[in-house]
Symmetry: C2
Subunit: 299 residues, 2 copies
Amino acid sequence: MKKRARIIINRKNGKTSMKTYLDCFPCFVNQALRIGRMVTEDVTIIKQLIDEVGMMLKDIPLTSIPPETGEIIFKRVREITGQDDPLAEIKNHSTREILDLYPQLKRMIANSDDPLLTAVRLAIAGNVIDFGIHDDYDIHAEIRETLEKDFEICDIFEFRRALERAENILYIGDNAGESVFDRLLIETVNKPTIYVVRAEPVLNDVTYVDAVAAGIGQVAEICSSGSRAPGTILHSCSVKFRQLFRSADMVISKGQGNYEGLSDEPRPIFFLLKAKCPVIARDIGVNAGDIVLKRSEAK
Amino acid sequence: MKKRARIIINRKNGKTSMKTYLDCFPCFVNQALRIGRMVTEDVTIIKQLIDEVGMMLKDIPLTSIPPETGEIIFKRVREITGQDDPLAEIKNHSTREILDLYPQLKRMIANSDDPLLTAVRLAIAGNVIDFGIHDDYDIHAEIRETLEKDFEICDIFEFRRALERAENILYIGDNAGESVFDRLLIETVNKPTIYVVRAEPVLNDVTYVDAVAAGIGQVAEICSSGSRAPGTILHSCSVKFRQLFRSADMVISKGQGNYEGLSDEPRPIFFLLKAKCPVIARDIGVNAGDIVLKRSEAK
């Protein structure tokens, strides 16, 4: 007997943006629990955070974009802990560990048959460093797997062509530590690049100081999106960023949070990510665990 | 790099009862979502259920027993849907499908080298039919696996000895459909048995009508625990059941919900279950997925 509950998630008709699905709600509470445990050992504080997120659910419409909720949850984490950057230590740890691997990864790219594709694969491997999704990963295993794995969507032809034509690139970063992998891809591409970071600490997303620590400043101009959400939602970004976004020859967007905000924007965007969340995977049209280099359909 | 968040769950010192862990809170919201989807296709109703359970979280103390929350959630499911037994159809389907397997399972037990152990294994295999935990299982695969799998805890020696000495058995059922497997074990043991069911429909737990449909009435007396929770919490059970529980020569308790309520009771109990939930597994001292025949430590 194989009994499956009906899947009632609203599938997208044509192209709408990535909204909040019913499946996101347990996940919001789980995020509160997971982040709570990362920032404190005080069960009462973690329970308070869970309670507050629970009460918040009724005010989250299905039309909102999940990183909007992520922003509100993390704002409470900062308020409750009294820390401006509660995951600073974890982010520094991630960055240092990947910097230790940097020389080895650099050689791996240089010695490969297709340095660009290898750098793309490594940039996707780095996307596993996402504490908004899980708190346990093995970056060595991830690198090995991502170098071998088949892409579920691989618009590498379009990616190469866009790179050839572009005189400038807007590269929207995702997480701290992952940004060292981004640096390797930026170095491999070797074009004038603006690297976009979050305006304020949110989850373990990359901020200005995290990007500098990863050495991004040596290879790109670093610019804040103006967003406090763990993603890029244009209406909450700065005017300056929106201008950059619209005028850039080529936009590279890393990770799920940026995809959630930008999936419906009417300009070509190259999304590089590992689909970790089943809901986002379904939105993209792949399975959880798949790796993706996808040029946005919107034009 | 292997980064693990600290586990802050309160481990039990000595023997306390199975309380609500922080990990249970996202799971309560997930249960609302899963059950909501089973009973309606109306996204607004499912969202309402999620919202209500979200608001409920703040009122659930860590000292409560999880099935107490399960009872409250399902009460709202019944109220919102206006149905007394919203999963009746699913329960009937489970029972019919296992009844179709009954002759084959009966032969399997009769032809085995150790009929009692085979019947115990099958009774544990049936414990996978639990819509409080998941909505997708394969009973054929479960039977094959459970017949071969090593027990993580197997107090079969104590179980046989208790059976030999007992003149009567109180067998506390768990889920509809699973009760057909219970019937096979009761037939194999062949002692006067009272089979305990929930007082009212809650999740897919076995009620009087479900037990009758499984043919339990042919092999045991069927008695309600008086509980409306998806588990057996003595203080919310009837006086009659509590007397039966205390005076029975031997108590067999199926599944997680009964374990959660009875794990600290000061009388010997044989718990037969598959540890599906990682929190309960940890409480028992096993891993999720493990199968268990455990005589309670309390005496």
